[in-house]
């Protein structure tokens, strides 16, 4: 370790600059990253700034049509069935939507990866038990689990995170196990073992860094999936309950007014699509950027197309 810490490569720019440069090369991914930053900003600041505006009812503005620019900016996307401004509500709902998805992805990734590392690197019995567990979770209908947990415990953000996290654990478990099985046979792992490194050190210092990029790419993609799952649960009425709001819940609240006021369901649905689309684009970019074989596609400027 000490050797690599003292050698400084002069010519290469700091890591984050080269990452930003690669991101700039892929314009779609760049836009996606900007949009996601915006959504995260909304999630952090929205509720504190707009909570009051988003819950204030205004019966004169019931189902107010969108694009009425004479109104306050929060009403530009129209008003909902109680005259509450849709744009403000979408911004406020970003927090719950993001919190559930982020919480579920982080929990399932940490637990799944640890189990996967154990299954890949320890004894055969432990591996068998863990894999059968994954099979059971995979074949267990996630919806049933959601209903059961949300009936026993109140349907809150925390419980929703637990439900979604459990259903996504097998994804990380299976991926990290498969990667570990391959990586553990490589020369540097065997060298570390010969040099007497402890199992803990081999797994966390030698194997995990190799597996990690794949897991991060999957997590980005999974974030989109979890968001859609949460939206579906809220849509079916077994997710987050009013007066809390998420985008999925907003779509379902607009459903009765579909034929007369399409914008009630349309905008929150569009917010969901744009966010998941951005996550997918970013995940695609990461797959290329983190893969040493494919990275050249982003590092050299595309002269032919630009």
């Amino acid at each position: 370790m000490s050797v690599s810490e003292t050698t400084v490569i002069r010519d290469a720019p700091p890591a984050w600059i080269s990452v930003m440069r690669m991101l700039w090369r892929d314009k779609f991914a760049f836009c996606a990253a900007i949009f996601l930053l915006l959504v995260i900003l909304c999630a952090f600041l929205g509720p504190t700034l707009l909570e009051d505006v988003a819950t204030r009812q205004n019966l004169r503005g019931r189902n107010a049509p969108p694009f009425d620019f004479s109104q306050a900016w929060t009403m530009w996307l129209g008003g909902d069935a109680l005259g509450r401004p849709l744009l403000a509500r979408i911004i406020v709902a970003a927090r719950n939507t993001m919190m559930v998805a982020a919480g579920a992805v982080v929990c399932s990734m940490v637990i799944g990866t640890i189990l996967g590392l154990i299954a890949g690197y320890s004894s055969k019995t432990a591996s068998q038990i863990i894999m059968r567990l994954a099979d059971v979770i995979m074949s267990f209908p996630s919806l049933l689990l959601a209903v059961i947990v949300l009936y026993m415990l109140a349907p809150s953000v925390g419980n929703l995170i637990v439900v979604l996290a459990i259903t996504r654990i097998p994804v990380y478990l299976r991926t990290s196990r498969a990667e570990v099985l391959e990586v553990r046979e490589r020369m540097f792992v065997q060298a570390a073992r010969v040099m007497g490194a402890s199992t803990k050190r081999i797994v966390f210092r030698h194997i995990l860094p190799v597996v990690f990029p794949t897991l991060v790419t999957i997590a980005t993609l999974d974030f989109a999936f979890v968001m859609l799952a949460e939206s579906s649960l809220s849509f079916l009425g077994i997710g987050i309950q009013p007066p809390e709001i998420t985008w999925g819940l907003m779509v379902s609240q607009g459903r009765p007014y579909l034929t007369t006021a399409w914008w009630l369901s349309f905008w929150p649905g569009l917010a969901i699509i744009l966010t998941t689309l951005s996550l997918n684009l970013l995940s695609n970019w990461m797959r290329t950027a983190l893969d040493p074989v494919q990275r050249w596609r982003l590092e050299i400027a595309r002269k032919k197309n630009d």
Binding site: I148, S232, V251, S252, L258, T276
Partner: protein, 304 residues
């Protein structure tokens, strides 16, 4: 091969047993059906009688062993709600879901493989960009939102297809179209990625050098080798459909197993819930084994 099938069957059976134990005890935690089926002011005696008739009075563990005893004889119990054997209700719904899933997945697989391969043939070309863009949007769209927007446009606005229910061929179009979108988007991406790798391999270069035409190169040489990850993803997506496309089935009033399951959970119809989960789990296990066999067919290097 035979030992492999045996092993897979055994491990599937173990998972199935785990699933049944888990579902049995977890579903009992959702509440007492007596509160749901009897009026609020029902007397204590009538509640007792309801529980007695439906065998809910015994200790949970006794109920469980009785259930397992019946299960061994393929008796899944009666549906409280429908007063018919639970298995009948489930199988009837499952046929609907199976048809829906089969039609959708066939369309998805064929179209996604063709589109994905053509997109991979010229990376960065016009067709590739269009295909990538639309498949990404498809993979990102929430199906419930697509469903209601489609109903507004095609059923209410244009009046081309019915909004919900079953009966004619027209009733199938919207559910299939909505279910088609997300798996299609995902699988096009997987096919494209996998084909890019295959098309840059040495054997494709050799085929080119020999003067093989483009079409056989794509669809014979490269595609067959690129199919393994594609088959995996198709399997996952088909499993998700078999588990019941709950949201789409609910919106379109489609009498499939997903709708049956959510209704039964909400109505605490435990026998139907258990039977539905059992049937879908068996179907998914069978499909997984078939996919493993398909691996061996596609790639003769894989032996079990």
């Amino acid at each position: 091969m035979k030992t492999f099938l045996g092993k897979r069957a055994i491990s599937s059976a173990i998972s199935l047993v785990g699933l049944i134990v888990l579902v049995f005890f977890l579903s009992r935690l959702t509440g007492d059906p007596a509160n749901l089926y009897l009026p609020v002011d029902a007397s204590l005696e009538s509640r007792e009688r309801f529980r007695e008739i439906n065998g809910l009075n015994d200790p949970l563990i006794l109920q469980f062993f009785r259930y397992v005893g019946d299960l061994v004889q393929f008796d899944f119990g009666m549906s409280v709600r429908r007063s018919e054997p639970a298995l009948d209700a489930v199988l009837r719904a499952f046929v609907w879901t199976l048809e829906l899933a089969a039609i959708t997945m066939t369309l998805v697989a064929v179209l996604a493989i063709v589109v994905g391969s053509l997109a991979a043939f010229r990376v960065g070309g016009v067709f590739d960009r269009i295909a990538t863009f639309f498949s990404l949007i498809g993979a990102s769209a929430p199906d419930f939102w697509i469903a209601i927007v489609a109903i507004v446009i095609f059923s209410v606005g244009l009046g081309w297809v019915p909004t919900s229910g079953t009966g004619t061929v027209w009733h199938w179009i919207l559910p299939i179209a909505v279910l088609f979108i997300r798996p299609f988007g995902l699988i096009v991406q997987v096919v494209r990625g996998s084909m890019i790798t295959a098309l840059s391999s040495a054997y494709v270069k050799t085929a080119r050098a020999k003067g093989v035409k483009n079409r056989p190169i794509i669809f014979v040489h490269a595609l067959r080798n690129a199919m393994l990850p594609v088959v995996t993803v198709i399997g996952d997506q088909a499993a998700a459909l078999l588990n019941g496309a709950v949201v789409v089935e609910t919106i379109f009033g489609f009498p499939g197993v997903g709708k049956l399951m959510i209704d039964s959970i909400l109505q605490r119809d435990f026998a139907v819930v258990m039977a539905a989960i059992f049937v879908t789990a068996v179907a998914i296990f069978v499909m997984n084994i078939l996919i493993d066999i398909l691996y061996a067919v596609l790639d003769p290097r894989i032996r079990y």
